[in-house]
């Protein structure tokens, strides 16, 4: 399977991380934030890192052509 085709599976993996059902009832407070909220904040920062890799490693070349 090609590099570009594999990218299409990326959203599925990210959705699995988003639906963190296993810790919805976690009532701990960590770093001043509820554990669930902190998880989603960290997930958002991770998503930013994923997007960084995406635009640098799998950027469609035709977009930069004149």
């Amino acid at each position: 399977m090609g590099h570009r085709k594999r990218i299409l599976f990326l959203p599925l993996g990210l959705v699995a991380l988003h639906l963190n059902y296993w810790m919805w009832d976690d009532a701990r407070i960590v770093l001043g934030l509820p554990a669930n909220l902190l998880y989603h904040v960290i997930l958002s920062l991770f998503l930013s890192a994923v997007m960084f890799v995406l635009v640098h490693r799998a950027w469609p070349r035709y977009l930069d052509e004149d």
Binding site: V15, N20, L37, L43, W59, L63, D64
Partner: protein, 491 residues
């Protein structure tokens, strides 16, 4: 003068100055007025797109939802957007920009009409897009007046709501007609910085009043521990899945489309795609945390936005003025683009296409765009004065409708076999299902889910849109090669 009103007037003067300054580089062509000559750089593009996408709901609505339902609102609405929206920009936004630049499109309707060689597709899309935009615009106009009224004293001598709404529409009108898309983008960039700063300052000031974040959360945990967790039920899982579909609306918003097409190059999209999740965290975390913490001082039921109550209790004065400016910033940042997008659609797809057979002069296009913007804002202002607060409930319905149009956007870019008949069938299915669910929801209390499953109407609208698009496309003749060659050139 009331200090809140003073800060708001000062803020509006700055925005006006930025918007009018953009006129200095106006070239007078239609492409320059409607798309800033496709010249926006990376920083302005990021701030303008983010400011356009965030609405009054981001500050007032999200904190209100967190006050009622707790921190789960961040996962439902912000984290889902952090996941979906950058991918929409990557897969849809960049490709539409590329095709728009190569083939000279200004609006979505032009793109779809040419892609499917169908006037019916263009007209159906125009009607649906404008219909879904109207409630959105009314929410912004009404919200600005309501917030200024509440922060300046409310029933005890607050500025009448129509004054706030009128001020905002007037300022938007003046700066948008000056420099078109460039004024809108520059003003939005400034407005985004303002509401991001206001969100952070408000969080710091109020949390300090509670003795710090840790102490505040422990206090809340003692009285309302349910607000710090997410209910572990199938219904909640259904909601979580449904809310993942709502941000797909970003792929169809006419006001975001205009921003995409204004980009200078493909590379200018990169910072927007990478930094979007971080921008969401910066704005949504303060809003959600403050909304939830509001239960300490103001247990439900409450009168008015929780953020306004918190500020009036814990600081008032200057911070109340800053919040008012922040709310104006977040509303104006989207409202100016929505009104401008509606004007662009009307000018390009109705007046120019049908009135002048695509032959209207450059000057005529700009003049028509300005006249329509004036008329659109005037009508929005008057209608907003006559509507009740129930208009705010239409927000999620508007988003659901846009999200359900996402399959046709993807098909137009990536599925060669999709046909105009398939697109029309998909739009018609969405319209019919939308009306059915909306009518069914009128008698329900609280959040409406289909058959009490936890699944929002958007899940069924989306499924219906996909099935009808695929089925009808496969049953009708494929598009001719000469058309496909334009939209899927060999690379």
């Amino acid at each position: 003068m009331n200090p809140v009103l003073g800060v708001v007037l000062l803020y509006l003067a700055v925005v006006l100055g930025i918007g009018v300054a953009a006129k200095r580089v106006l070239r007078g062509t239609a492409e320059d007025y409607f798309l800033a000559s496709r010249s926006l750089g990376a920083t302005v593009l990021l701030l303008s797109i983010f400011g356009t996408h965030m609405t009054a709901f981001t500050i007032l609505g999200a904190s209100g939802e967190a006050h009622r339902g707790g921190i789960s609102v961040f996962a439902l609405m912000a984290s889902s957007s952090a996941l979906v929206v950058p991918l929409v920009f990557y897969f849809v936004g960049t490709r539409l920009w590329w095709l728009g630049k190569r083939l000279g499109f200004i609006t979505q309707v032009q793109f779809f009409r040419e892609r499917y060689q169908s006037e019916v597709v263009g007209l159906a899309l125009f009607v649906v897009l404008v219909s879904l935009l109207v409630p959105y615009v009314l929410i912004g106009v009404k919200g600005s007046g309501d917030v200024l009224w509440a922060l300046t004293g409310g029933p005890a001598g607050g500025v009448p709501p129509w004054v706030g709404s009128f001020l905002m529409c007037g300022v938007i009108f003046i700066y948008v007609i000056q420099g078109g898309m460039r004024s809108t983008a520059w003003a939005n960039a400034f407005q985004t910085l303002v509401f991001m700063s206001v969100a952070a300052i408000t969080l710091l000031v109020i949390v300090r009043e509670y003795g710090g974040l840790e102490t505040a959360m422990r206090t809340l945990d003692a009285s309302r521990p349910d607000l710090l967790t997410i209910e572990k039920t199938p219904r909640q899982l259904g909601r979580m899945v449904s809310y993942l579909l709502i941000p797909l609306s970003a792929g169809v918003f006419p006001h975001l489309f205009a921003n995409w097409l204004s980009a200078k190059s493909g590379k200018t999209f990169r910072p927007t795609i990478v930094l979007y999740p971080i921008c969401l965290v910066l704005v949504w975390v303060p809003s959600v945390v403050l909304g939830a913490l509001g239960n300490i001082d103001f247990p439900p039921p409450i009168e008015g936005p929780i953020l306004v109550l918190l500020i009036l209790r814990h600081s008032g004065g200057l911070l109340a003025g800053l919040l008012a400016a922040g709310v104006f910033a977040v509303i104006m940042g989207s409202l100016d683009n929505q009104a401008f997008a509606a004007g662009t659609l009307f000018t390009q797809d109705i007046v120019r296409h049908y009135g002048f057979h695509d032959g209207l002069s450059e000057r005529g296009q700009v003049l028509t765009g300005r006249l329509f913007l004036a008329a659109f804002l005037a009508v929005a202002l008057f209608v907003s004065l006559a509507t009740s607060r129930t208009i705010f409930d239409l927000g999620v319905w508007s988003l659901s409708g846009f999200a359900a149009l996402f399959p046709i956007a993807v098909a137009s870019l990536y599925w060669r076999r999709s046909t105009g008949a398939g697109v029309v069938a998909s739009i018609a299915t969405v319209a019919v299902l939308w009306i059915i669910f909306f009518l069914d929801s009128l008698g329900s209390r609280g959040e409406y889910t289909v058959g009490e499953t936890g699944l929002l109407p958007v899940a069924f609208l989306f499924a219906g849109a996909v099935v009808s698009l695929v089925a009808v496309s496969l049953l009708t003749s494929p598009p001719p090669d000469r058309v496909l060659d334009r939209f899927f050139p060999a690379r």
